[in-house]
Amino acid sequence: MHNQTRFKINSPAVMLEKFDDEVVMVNLASGTYYSLGKSGAVICTAIASGATTTTITDALSRQFQGSPEAMEQAVSGFIDELLREQIVVPVDPSAPEEPEANGSVPAGDSQVVRRIFEVPVLEKYTDMQELFLLDPVHEVGDSGWPQRKA
């Protein structure tokens, strides 16, 4: 369990983009594209804001119908998956807090009917791996590139 541990998006290797109903992440180091909807999108958005697992679970309870214990277990398992994919990394407790990582999670619209909680699913795509990894023009170091052959 990761109750009070904070995590953060593994930037700059991972870029996260939010849409109305989806969160998309690309790991620029591996070229892997991830898509999240529903509870997964809520969790990743909360992680990006620096929320703890407890805060994330509370946020899910406000937006979804389901057992808090099941949500907590799902969040923990999902974070483990995000760690394995190197999408998130633990936050160093001694590091200064980043301005945008205030740990707050939007309360959500109280008028909206809560959806049934489903275990978050991390959809992973590698069909564009080559294109996301591609950056030949900028793969130049300070010493210049390419080097002339001997």
């Binding site: 870029m15 590139w145 390419p146 001997a150």
Partner: protein
């Protein structure tokens, strides 16, 4: 007009001169034109272009912002009159006397053609990658059948397909991902098949790289958003401006192109260029 060779250039007059030299040495059996869209402020660029029979267009940047390579390329594409458009960078030299002929002749309907492009040093000598074993056998290859990337360092496509894609997406305001997005618009948007040729070879001349990391990151973000929207149906694999009408080419809106010499090179006879100033 069978072929238009279109390129945008940004402050690389030395490289551009070598590229134009390599183009005008050729004698394909059809008429072709060369259109150069100048997106930089180096005064040497128009002087270099005046040595060759090109259509020269200067991009007018009203607010002096960083270059927009997509807009510059589109300016040249909109001026094109050829049935086939050869799209290339301003730093890729044609290595064979039949490069233009092959880029046109090998192009199939329903496809676009990407040449093998090898990175070279300033002497035009192929170089090994920095993490190679020093044997000199490992070349830095940008595109090839073994490195199939839909990037137009040097390639060709039907002008009708280029216009259907809407050219390059001008929402990309700096260099980075606009070329990759263009490739996706052709493959996933129009269903075109990329063909990678080892019969056609270009040499990319090394140059300083872009160091505007903020611009690069912004380009990355935009690319991810466009891909995400297209994959889910919220958007299309298409340039943001939509397809261009298929009609007579427009006069560029950012300035009247300057026609130098005789822009249409007749079949089988390229104009002998004046000597390039050192």
């Amino acid at each position: 007009m069978k072929c238009s060779i279109c390129l945008a250039t940004y402050n690389k007059p030395g490289h551009l001169a070598r590229v134009l030299e390599s183009i005008f040495r050729q004698h394909p059996p059809f008429a072709f034109e060369v259109i150069v869209s100048d997106d930089g402020g180096d005064p040497e660029t128009p002087r270099v272009c005046r040595q060759y029979p090109v259509v020269y267009h200067s991009m007018q940047r009203v607010d002096g912002r960083y270059r927009n390579p997509a807009r510059a390329r589109n300016a040249s594409y909109r001026l094109a009159r050829g049935e086939v458009v050869i799209c290339q960078s301003d730093d890729v030299v044609h290595t064979r006397p039949d490069t233009i002929e092959r880029l046109v002749g090998d192009l199939e309907p329903g496809a676009f053609l990407i040449a093998t492009v090898i990175n070279t040093d300033e002497d035009g000598q192929p170089c090994c990658a920095p993490d190679g074993d020093g044997c000199g056998d490992k070349l830095t290859v940008y595109t090839s059948p073994a490195q199939p990337r839909p990037l137009f360092f040097l390639g060709s496509l039907w002008r009708s397909d280029l216009y259907a894609a809407g050219g390059n997406d001008e929402e990309f305001e700096g260099p980075c991902r606009e070329d990759v997005w263009f490739g996706l618009c052709l493959t996933k948007g129009l269903g075109l098949a990329p063909r990678y040729s080892d019969r056609i070879v270009g040499h990319h001349l090394r140059h300083p790289h872009c160091t505007d990391h903020a611009a690069i990151q912004e380009s990355q973000r935009l690319f991810i958003r466009k891909v995400a929207n297209a994959r889910t149906g919220r958007g299309l694999y298409q340039a943001s401006g939509g397809p261009w009408p298929w009609n007579e080419p427009e006069t560029a809106t950012t300035g009247t192109p300057e026609t130098i010499g005789h822009p249409a090179i007749p079949a089988g006879g390229s104009q002998t260029p004046r000597s390039v100033p050192q």
